[in-house]
Protein backbone atom coordinates (compact mmCIF):
# COMPACT_ATOMS: atom_id res chain seq x y z
CA UNK A 1 0.00 0.00 0.00
CA UNK A 2 1.32 3.43 -0.88
CA UNK A 3 -0.33 6.73 -0.15
CA UNK A 4 -2.32 8.38 2.61
CA UNK A 5 -4.43 6.48 5.12
CA UNK A 6 -5.83 6.99 8.63
CA UNK A 7 -3.39 6.30 11.41
CA UNK A 8 -3.73 3.01 13.32
CA UNK A 9 -2.64 2.24 16.85
CA UNK A 10 -0.03 -0.15 15.51
CA UNK A 11 1.61 2.79 13.66
CA UNK A 12 2.50 4.66 16.82
CA UNK A 13 6.01 3.29 17.34
CA UNK A 14 6.87 4.00 13.72
CA UNK A 15 5.45 7.54 13.98
CA UNK A 16 7.47 8.19 17.13
CA UNK A 17 10.61 7.01 15.34
CA UNK A 18 9.82 9.24 12.36
CA UNK A 19 9.23 12.16 14.67
CA UNK A 20 12.49 11.58 16.55
CA UNK A 21 14.42 11.52 13.26
CA UNK A 22 12.74 14.57 11.75
CA UNK A 23 11.86 16.90 14.60
CA UNK A 24 13.90 15.92 17.64
CA UNK A 25 17.38 14.42 17.87
CA UNK A 26 17.77 13.34 14.27
CA UNK A 27 18.68 9.87 15.50
CA UNK A 28 16.88 6.54 15.58
CA UNK A 29 17.03 6.43 19.39
CA UNK A 30 13.42 7.01 20.45
CA UNK A 31 13.04 8.03 24.10
CA UNK A 32 10.73 6.02 26.25
CA UNK A 33 7.44 7.82 26.48
CA UNK A 34 7.32 9.49 23.09
CA UNK A 35 5.23 6.75 21.50
CA UNK A 36 2.92 6.65 24.51
CA UNK A 37 2.42 10.36 24.26
CA UNK A 38 1.50 10.05 20.60
CA UNK A 39 -0.95 7.28 21.46
CA UNK A 40 -2.63 9.42 24.11
CA UNK A 41 -2.95 12.48 21.93
CA UNK A 42 -4.15 10.60 18.87
CA UNK A 43 -6.31 7.83 20.31
CA UNK A 44 -6.79 8.09 24.02
CA UNK A 45 -8.63 11.28 24.89
CA UNK A 46 -12.30 12.09 25.42
CA UNK A 47 -12.84 13.75 22.05
CA UNK A 48 -10.97 11.24 19.89
CA UNK A 49 -13.05 10.60 16.77
CA UNK A 50 -12.25 7.83 14.33
CA UNK A 51 -14.08 9.74 11.61
CA UNK A 52 -11.60 12.61 11.86
CA UNK A 53 -8.33 10.69 12.07
CA UNK A 54 -4.70 11.65 12.03
CA UNK A 55 -3.10 10.57 8.78
CA UNK A 56 0.06 8.83 7.68
CA UNK A 57 1.78 8.67 4.34
CA UNK A 58 3.11 5.21 3.74
CA UNK A 59 5.23 3.79 0.97
CA UNK A 60 5.75 0.16 0.11
CA UNK A 61 9.50 0.60 0.28
CA UNK A 62 10.03 2.67 3.45
CA UNK A 63 6.86 2.34 5.50
CA UNK A 64 5.56 5.51 7.16
CA UNK A 65 7.38 8.55 5.78
CA UNK A 66 4.90 11.26 6.77
CA UNK A 67 2.43 12.06 9.54
CA UNK A 68 -0.08 14.78 10.35
CA UNK A 69 -1.90 14.99 13.67
CA UNK A 70 -5.64 15.54 13.87
CA UNK A 71 -6.81 16.82 17.24
CA UNK A 72 -10.59 16.91 17.36
CA UNK A 73 -12.19 19.92 19.02
CA UNK A 74 -15.88 20.42 19.68
CA UNK A 75 -16.89 23.84 18.45
CA UNK A 76 -20.16 25.76 18.44
CA UNK A 77 -21.10 28.49 16.01
CA UNK A 78 -23.99 30.57 17.25
CA UNK A 79 -25.01 27.70 19.48
CA UNK A 80 -24.86 25.04 16.77
CA UNK A 81 -22.24 22.30 17.02
CA UNK A 82 -19.83 21.92 14.09
CA UNK A 83 -17.00 19.46 13.56
CA UNK A 84 -13.55 20.93 14.02
CA UNK A 85 -10.01 19.64 13.90
CA UNK A 86 -6.84 21.22 15.16
CA UNK A 87 -4.14 20.30 12.67
CA UNK A 88 -1.13 19.20 14.65
CA UNK A 89 2.31 17.92 13.97
CA UNK A 90 3.17 17.66 10.28
CA UNK A 91 6.36 15.79 9.60
CA UNK A 92 7.84 14.07 6.60
CA UNK A 93 11.11 12.25 6.34
CA UNK A 94 13.50 14.27 4.25
CA UNK A 95 15.64 11.27 3.40
CA UNK A 96 12.88 8.88 2.50
CA UNK A 97 10.06 11.03 1.19
CA UNK A 98 9.84 13.55 -1.60
CA UNK A 99 8.46 17.10 -1.31
CA UNK A 100 4.96 15.97 -2.18
CA UNK A 101 4.31 14.20 1.12
CA UNK A 102 3.78 17.18 3.43
CA UNK A 103 1.44 19.13 1.14
CA UNK A 104 -0.57 16.03 0.29
CA UNK A 105 -1.01 15.15 3.95
CA UNK A 106 -2.10 18.69 4.73
CA UNK A 107 -4.55 18.77 1.85
CA UNK A 108 -5.97 15.41 2.84
CA UNK A 109 -6.46 16.57 6.44
CA UNK A 110 -8.08 19.85 5.42
CA UNK A 111 -10.31 17.89 3.05
CA UNK A 112 -11.61 15.67 5.86
CA UNK A 113 -15.19 15.51 7.10
CA UNK A 114 -14.80 18.41 9.53
CA UNK A 115 -16.28 21.87 8.89
CA UNK A 116 -13.39 23.78 10.38
CA UNK A 117 -9.65 23.14 10.55
CA UNK A 118 -7.21 25.27 12.47
CA UNK A 119 -3.72 25.31 13.85
CA UNK A 120 -1.86 27.67 16.15
CA UNK A 121 1.74 26.62 15.76
CA UNK A 122 2.44 26.94 12.06
CA UNK A 123 5.73 27.86 10.45
CA UNK A 124 5.89 30.37 7.57
CA UNK A 125 6.17 27.50 5.08
CA UNK A 126 3.06 25.80 6.39
CA UNK A 127 1.27 29.15 6.31
CA UNK A 128 2.14 29.52 2.62
CA UNK A 129 0.91 26.03 1.77
CA UNK A 130 -2.18 26.43 3.93
CA UNK A 131 -3.15 29.69 2.22
CA UNK A 132 -2.73 28.17 -1.22
CA UNK A 133 -5.25 25.52 -0.17
CA UNK A 134 -7.76 28.25 0.68
CA UNK A 135 -6.97 28.84 4.33
CA UNK A 136 -6.48 32.13 6.12
CA UNK A 137 -3.96 33.58 8.55
CA UNK A 138 -5.45 35.24 11.60
CA UNK A 139 -4.12 38.56 12.79
CA UNK A 140 -3.40 39.76 15.42
CA UNK A 141 -3.41 36.20 16.80
CA UNK A 142 -0.28 35.40 14.79
CA UNK A 143 1.57 37.93 16.91
CA UNK A 144 2.72 37.50 20.50
CA UNK A 145 2.99 40.01 23.28
CA UNK A 146 5.82 39.78 25.77
CA UNK A 147 5.99 41.58 29.09
CA UNK A 148 9.58 41.39 30.25
CA UNK A 149 9.84 41.10 34.04
CA UNK A 150 13.47 40.23 34.64
CA UNK A 151 15.39 41.37 31.58
CA UNK A 152 18.74 39.78 32.43
CA UNK A 153 17.16 36.41 33.16
CA UNK A 154 15.06 36.65 30.01
CA UNK A 155 18.06 37.54 27.88
CA UNK A 156 20.25 34.82 29.36
CA UNK A 157 17.48 32.27 28.99
CA UNK A 158 17.22 33.13 25.33
CA UNK A 159 20.95 33.22 24.75
CA UNK A 160 21.69 30.03 26.68
CA UNK A 161 18.86 28.11 25.06
CA UNK A 162 21.14 27.28 22.15
CA UNK A 163 23.66 25.58 24.44
CA UNK A 164 21.04 23.57 26.34
CA UNK A 165 23.29 23.58 29.37
CA UNK A 166 21.69 23.46 32.81
CA UNK A 167 25.09 24.01 34.46
CA UNK A 168 25.68 27.20 32.49
CA UNK A 169 22.18 28.36 33.29
CA UNK A 170 22.58 27.65 37.00
CA UNK A 171 25.99 29.28 37.13
CA UNK A 172 24.75 32.47 35.51
CA UNK A 173 21.62 32.77 37.64
CA UNK A 174 23.13 34.68 40.66
CA UNK A 175 24.61 37.35 38.40
CA UNK A 176 21.38 37.72 36.46
CA UNK A 177 19.38 37.90 39.68
CA UNK A 178 21.56 40.71 40.95
CA UNK A 179 21.16 42.68 37.73
CA UNK A 180 17.41 42.11 37.71
CA UNK A 181 17.03 43.25 41.30
CA UNK A 182 18.64 46.51 40.28
CA UNK A 183 16.10 46.90 37.50
CA UNK A 184 13.03 46.06 39.57
CA UNK A 185 11.97 49.66 39.85
CA UNK A 186 11.29 49.69 36.11
CA UNK A 187 10.27 46.13 35.43
CA UNK A 188 8.14 45.02 38.37
CA UNK A 189 4.49 45.14 37.29
CA UNK A 190 2.16 47.54 39.04
CA UNK A 191 -0.14 45.88 41.56
CA UNK A 192 -3.73 45.32 40.47
CA UNK A 193 -5.92 48.38 40.86
CA UNK A 194 -8.39 46.19 42.72
CA UNK A 195 -7.67 43.07 44.76
CA UNK A 196 -10.00 40.38 43.47
CA UNK A 197 -10.58 37.18 45.36
CA UNK A 198 -9.01 34.22 43.58
CA UNK A 199 -9.62 30.49 43.55
CA UNK A 200 -8.21 27.48 41.79
CA UNK A 201 -9.84 26.98 38.42
CA UNK A 202 -10.85 23.33 38.32
CA UNK A 203 -11.96 21.70 35.04
CA UNK A 204 -15.66 21.97 35.90
CA UNK A 205 -15.23 25.63 36.89
CA UNK A 206 -13.44 26.29 33.63
CA UNK A 207 -16.33 24.88 31.58
CA UNK A 208 -18.85 26.97 33.48
CA UNK A 209 -16.85 30.19 33.37
CA UNK A 210 -15.93 29.79 29.71
CA UNK A 211 -19.59 29.53 28.84
CA UNK A 212 -20.63 32.28 31.20
CA UNK A 213 -17.97 34.79 30.22
CA UNK A 214 -17.49 33.71 26.63
CA UNK A 215 -20.96 34.62 25.49
CA UNK A 216 -19.98 38.25 25.63
CA UNK A 217 -17.30 37.80 23.00
CA UNK A 218 -17.70 35.46 20.11
CA UNK A 219 -20.02 33.24 18.18
CA UNK A 220 -17.37 30.63 17.36
CA UNK A 221 -16.66 28.94 20.68
CA UNK A 222 -15.25 25.70 21.96
CA UNK A 223 -17.98 23.41 23.29
CA UNK A 224 -15.98 22.37 26.33
CA UNK A 225 -16.99 19.58 28.65
CA UNK A 226 -15.46 18.62 31.97
CA UNK A 227 -13.93 15.24 30.94
CA UNK A 228 -12.01 16.85 28.10
CA UNK A 229 -10.82 19.84 30.14
CA UNK A 230 -9.81 17.43 32.89
CA UNK A 231 -7.77 15.46 30.35
CA UNK A 232 -6.26 18.61 28.91
CA UNK A 233 -5.23 20.04 32.26
CA UNK A 234 -3.79 16.69 33.29
CA UNK A 235 -1.63 16.65 30.17
CA UNK A 236 -0.52 20.24 30.75
CA UNK A 237 0.47 19.38 34.31
CA UNK A 238 3.02 16.94 33.00
CA UNK A 239 5.07 19.05 30.62
CA UNK A 240 8.30 19.79 32.50
CA UNK A 241 9.72 21.74 29.59
CA UNK A 242 6.76 24.11 29.69
CA UNK A 243 6.66 24.76 33.43
CA UNK A 244 3.90 24.47 36.02
CA UNK A 245 0.25 24.76 35.04
CA UNK A 246 -1.47 27.56 36.94
CA UNK A 247 -5.24 27.97 36.58
CA UNK A 248 -6.97 30.71 38.56
CA UNK A 249 -10.44 32.21 38.66
CA UNK A 250 -11.18 35.70 39.99
CA UNK A 251 -14.28 36.92 41.78
CA UNK A 252 -15.81 40.19 42.89
CA UNK A 253 -18.48 40.10 45.56
CA UNK A 254 -18.83 36.38 45.00
CA UNK A 255 -19.36 36.69 41.26
CA UNK A 256 -16.79 35.44 38.77
CA UNK A 257 -15.23 38.11 36.58
CA UNK A 258 -12.44 36.23 34.82
CA UNK A 259 -9.78 33.55 34.81
CA UNK A 260 -6.47 32.61 33.33
CA UNK A 261 -4.63 29.42 32.39
CA UNK A 262 -0.84 29.73 32.18
CA UNK A 263 2.37 27.75 32.30
CA UNK A 264 4.84 29.27 34.72
CA UNK A 265 8.43 28.48 35.60
CA UNK A 266 11.02 30.32 37.65
CA UNK A 267 13.67 32.16 35.64
CA UNK A 268 11.97 31.25 32.37
CA UNK A 269 9.31 32.78 30.18
CA UNK A 270 5.80 32.08 31.47
CA UNK A 271 3.20 31.34 28.78
CA UNK A 272 -0.39 32.42 28.87
CA UNK A 273 -2.73 29.90 27.29
CA UNK A 274 -5.97 31.73 27.91
CA UNK A 275 -7.26 34.77 29.73
CA UNK A 276 -10.96 35.41 29.69
CA UNK A 277 -12.74 38.10 31.65
CA UNK A 278 -15.67 40.42 31.51
CA UNK A 279 -14.72 43.23 29.13
CA UNK A 280 -14.24 45.77 31.91
CA UNK A 281 -12.13 43.34 33.96
CA UNK A 282 -9.58 42.08 31.43
CA UNK A 283 -7.02 44.58 32.69
CA UNK A 284 -7.36 43.77 36.37
CA UNK A 285 -7.23 40.01 35.72
CA UNK A 286 -4.12 40.58 33.62
CA UNK A 287 -2.62 42.55 36.51
CA UNK A 288 -3.26 39.61 38.84
CA UNK A 289 -1.62 37.29 36.35
CA UNK A 290 1.43 39.55 36.08
CA UNK A 291 1.65 39.72 39.84
CA UNK A 292 1.47 35.91 40.14
CA UNK A 293 4.05 35.36 37.44
CA UNK A 294 6.35 37.94 39.01
CA UNK A 295 6.02 36.24 42.40
CA UNK A 296 6.86 32.89 40.81
CA UNK A 297 10.15 34.35 39.57
CA UNK A 298 9.47 34.14 35.84
CA UNK A 299 11.67 36.18 33.55
CA UNK A 300 8.80 37.31 31.29
CA UNK A 301 5.21 36.63 30.42
CA UNK A 302 4.31 35.81 26.85
CA UNK A 303 0.93 35.26 25.24
CA UNK A 304 -0.89 35.25 21.95
CA UNK A 305 -2.21 38.62 20.93
CA UNK A 306 -5.95 38.11 21.17
CA UNK A 307 -7.97 41.16 20.12
CA UNK A 308 -9.47 41.50 23.60
CA UNK A 309 -5.98 41.68 25.10
CA UNK A 310 -4.48 44.26 22.78
CA UNK A 311 -5.23 47.41 24.78
CA UNK A 312 -4.54 45.90 28.21
CA UNK A 313 -1.15 44.48 27.21
CA UNK A 314 -0.20 47.58 25.24
CA UNK A 315 -0.79 49.67 28.36
CA UNK A 316 1.44 47.46 30.44
CA UNK A 317 4.71 47.94 28.60
CA UNK A 318 4.56 44.82 26.45
CA UNK A 319 6.49 44.13 23.29
CA UNK A 320 4.68 42.83 20.22
CA UNK A 321 6.59 40.23 18.18
CA UNK A 322 5.84 37.83 15.30
CA UNK A 323 4.85 34.40 16.53
CA UNK A 324 3.67 31.01 15.39
CA UNK A 325 0.96 31.49 12.80
CA UNK A 326 -2.66 30.90 13.64
CA UNK A 327 -4.38 29.43 10.61
CA UNK A 328 -7.98 28.52 9.87
CA UNK A 329 -9.63 26.72 6.99
CA UNK A 330 -13.35 26.27 6.49
CA UNK A 331 -15.25 24.67 3.68
CA UNK A 332 -17.80 27.49 3.86
CA UNK A 333 -16.62 31.05 3.31
CA UNK A 334 -19.24 32.34 5.76
CA UNK A 335 -17.77 30.22 8.54
CA UNK A 336 -14.26 31.46 7.80
CA UNK A 337 -15.51 35.05 7.93
CA UNK A 338 -17.22 34.31 11.25
CA UNK A 339 -14.01 32.88 12.66
CA UNK A 340 -12.02 35.92 11.57
CA UNK A 341 -14.15 38.28 13.59
CA UNK A 342 -15.86 36.33 16.35
CA UNK A 343 -13.83 33.35 17.52
CA UNK A 344 -12.90 32.34 21.05
CA UNK A 345 -10.45 29.55 20.32
CA UNK A 346 -7.38 30.19 22.43
CA UNK A 347 -4.04 28.44 22.74
CA UNK A 348 -5.64 26.28 25.42
CA UNK A 349 -7.78 24.71 22.69
CA UNK A 350 -4.97 24.43 20.16
CA UNK A 351 -1.84 22.38 19.74
CA UNK A 352 0.75 25.06 20.43
CA UNK A 353 1.32 23.88 23.99
CA UNK A 354 2.13 20.29 23.08
CA UNK A 355 5.86 20.96 22.85
CA UNK A 356 6.77 17.48 21.73
CA UNK A 357 10.18 18.52 20.54
CA UNK A 358 11.12 20.09 23.89
CA UNK A 359 10.34 17.32 26.35
CA UNK A 360 13.13 15.09 27.65
CA UNK A 361 10.92 12.11 28.55
CA UNK A 362 12.85 11.29 31.69
CA UNK A 363 10.19 11.21 34.38
CA UNK A 364 7.45 8.64 34.74
CA UNK A 365 3.96 9.84 35.50
CA UNK A 366 3.13 7.21 38.06
CA UNK A 367 0.42 4.60 38.18
CA UNK A 368 -0.60 4.94 34.56
CA UNK A 369 3.01 4.57 33.52
CA UNK A 370 2.87 7.46 31.15
CA UNK A 371 5.94 9.50 30.53
CA UNK A 372 5.84 13.19 31.24
CA UNK A 373 6.36 14.48 27.80
CA UNK A 374 4.83 15.71 24.66
CA UNK A 375 5.74 16.28 21.09
CA UNK A 376 6.22 19.25 18.78
CA UNK A 377 4.45 22.57 18.81
CA UNK A 378 4.92 23.64 15.26
CA UNK A 379 4.26 22.06 11.97
CA UNK A 380 7.26 20.89 10.03
CA UNK A 381 7.29 20.25 6.35
CA UNK A 382 10.47 19.35 4.61
CA UNK A 383 11.73 21.15 1.56
CA UNK A 384 11.62 24.64 2.93
Amino acid sequence: MTGIRPVELSDIEEIAALYERVARSGTNVVPQGLAEQFARYVFDHPWADAELPSLVFETARDGIVGFIGSHVRHVRVGGERIRAVCSGQLVSDRDRANPTVGPLLLRALIGGDQDLTFTDGASPLVRDIWCRFGGAVLYPESLSWVRVLRPSAAASHRLLARYNSDRLRTASRPVMSMLDRGAEHWTKPSPPSEQLRSSILHPGDYVQLYQRLCNDFGRVEVDWDTPFVDWLMEELRHLPSRGELVCKAFHRSGKPVGYYVALVEKAKVARLLELTALPADVGVVLDHLLEDVWSAGASALQGRLEPSLFEPVARRGSLIVPSERVLFHAKQAELLAEVRHHHRISRFAGEWWMGHHTEQFVENRGPRGRASASWIDSAVVHGS
Binding site: T2, G3, R107, D128, R132, V381
Partner: protein, 88 residues
Protein backbone atom coordinates in the same frame (compact mmCIF):
# COMPACT_ATOMS: atom_id res chain seq x y z
CA UNK B 1 -10.24 16.50 -23.25
CA UNK B 2 -7.15 15.42 -21.29
CA UNK B 3 -4.58 14.24 -23.74
CA UNK B 4 -0.93 13.92 -22.78
CA UNK B 5 0.05 17.05 -24.67
CA UNK B 6 -2.32 19.16 -22.63
CA UNK B 7 -1.12 17.59 -19.43
CA UNK B 8 2.49 18.15 -20.45
CA UNK B 9 1.83 21.79 -21.24
CA UNK B 10 0.08 22.26 -17.91
CA UNK B 11 2.94 20.68 -15.98
CA UNK B 12 5.64 22.57 -17.84
CA UNK B 13 3.69 25.79 -17.51
CA UNK B 14 3.63 25.34 -13.76
CA UNK B 15 7.31 24.40 -13.70
CA UNK B 16 8.41 27.28 -15.88
CA UNK B 17 9.51 29.54 -13.04
CA UNK B 18 11.43 26.89 -11.03
CA UNK B 19 13.10 25.71 -14.24
CA UNK B 20 14.18 29.20 -15.23
CA UNK B 21 15.45 29.86 -11.69
CA UNK B 22 17.49 26.67 -11.99
CA UNK B 23 18.95 27.92 -15.29
CA UNK B 24 17.05 25.43 -17.42
CA UNK B 25 15.13 26.18 -20.59
CA UNK B 26 11.59 24.76 -20.35
CA UNK B 27 11.70 24.12 -24.10
CA UNK B 28 14.65 21.77 -23.64
CA UNK B 29 12.94 19.57 -21.05
CA UNK B 30 12.18 16.10 -22.32
CA UNK B 31 10.17 13.28 -20.83
CA UNK B 32 13.21 11.78 -19.10
CA UNK B 33 13.68 14.87 -16.93
CA UNK B 34 13.67 13.90 -13.24
CA UNK B 35 11.19 16.35 -11.70
CA UNK B 36 11.54 15.39 -8.04
CA UNK B 37 15.13 14.18 -8.10
CA UNK B 38 16.39 17.30 -9.85
CA UNK B 39 15.67 19.35 -6.76
CA UNK B 40 13.95 22.12 -8.69
CA UNK B 41 10.77 21.85 -6.66
CA UNK B 42 10.26 21.97 -2.93
CA UNK B 43 7.02 21.51 -0.99
CA UNK B 44 5.69 24.92 -1.92
CA UNK B 45 6.62 24.60 -5.59
CA UNK B 46 4.86 21.25 -5.63
CA UNK B 47 1.69 22.86 -4.29
CA UNK B 48 1.93 25.52 -6.98
CA UNK B 49 2.41 22.78 -9.57
CA UNK B 50 -0.53 20.83 -8.25
CA UNK B 51 -2.87 23.82 -8.19
CA UNK B 52 -1.74 25.10 -11.58
CA UNK B 53 -2.31 21.71 -13.21
CA UNK B 54 -5.70 21.43 -11.57
CA UNK B 55 -6.65 24.92 -12.75
CA UNK B 56 -5.48 24.18 -16.27
CA UNK B 57 -7.27 20.85 -16.45
CA UNK B 58 -10.34 22.04 -14.61
CA UNK B 59 -10.56 19.24 -12.06
CA UNK B 60 -9.14 18.39 -8.66
CA UNK B 61 -6.61 15.61 -8.78
CA UNK B 62 -7.03 12.83 -6.27
CA UNK B 63 -3.39 12.26 -5.54
CA UNK B 64 -3.68 10.83 -2.06
CA UNK B 65 -3.24 7.28 -3.30
CA UNK B 66 -0.56 8.14 -5.79
CA UNK B 67 2.83 6.51 -5.37
CA UNK B 68 5.23 9.33 -5.95
CA UNK B 69 8.12 6.88 -5.93
CA UNK B 70 6.92 6.17 -9.44
CA UNK B 71 7.37 9.79 -10.41
CA UNK B 72 10.84 9.25 -11.74
CA UNK B 73 10.49 11.56 -14.71
CA UNK B 74 8.31 14.12 -16.40
CA UNK B 75 7.02 11.38 -18.66
CA UNK B 76 6.11 9.20 -15.70
CA UNK B 77 4.27 12.06 -14.01
CA UNK B 78 2.30 12.73 -17.18
CA UNK B 79 1.34 9.08 -17.50
CA UNK B 80 0.17 9.02 -13.87
CA UNK B 81 -1.83 12.23 -14.25
CA UNK B 82 -3.36 10.87 -17.44
CA UNK B 83 -4.31 7.68 -15.63
CA UNK B 84 -6.01 9.69 -12.88
CA UNK B 85 -7.81 12.01 -15.22
CA UNK B 86 -8.81 9.40 -17.76
CA UNK B 87 -9.49 6.18 -15.83
CA UNK B 88 -9.34 3.05 -17.93
Amino acid sequence: MCDETRIRNAVLGALRQPLVIAGLDPNDIDNDFDILGSGIIDSLAFVDLLLAVEAELGSQLELELLDFDDVTSLGALMRILHRILVPA
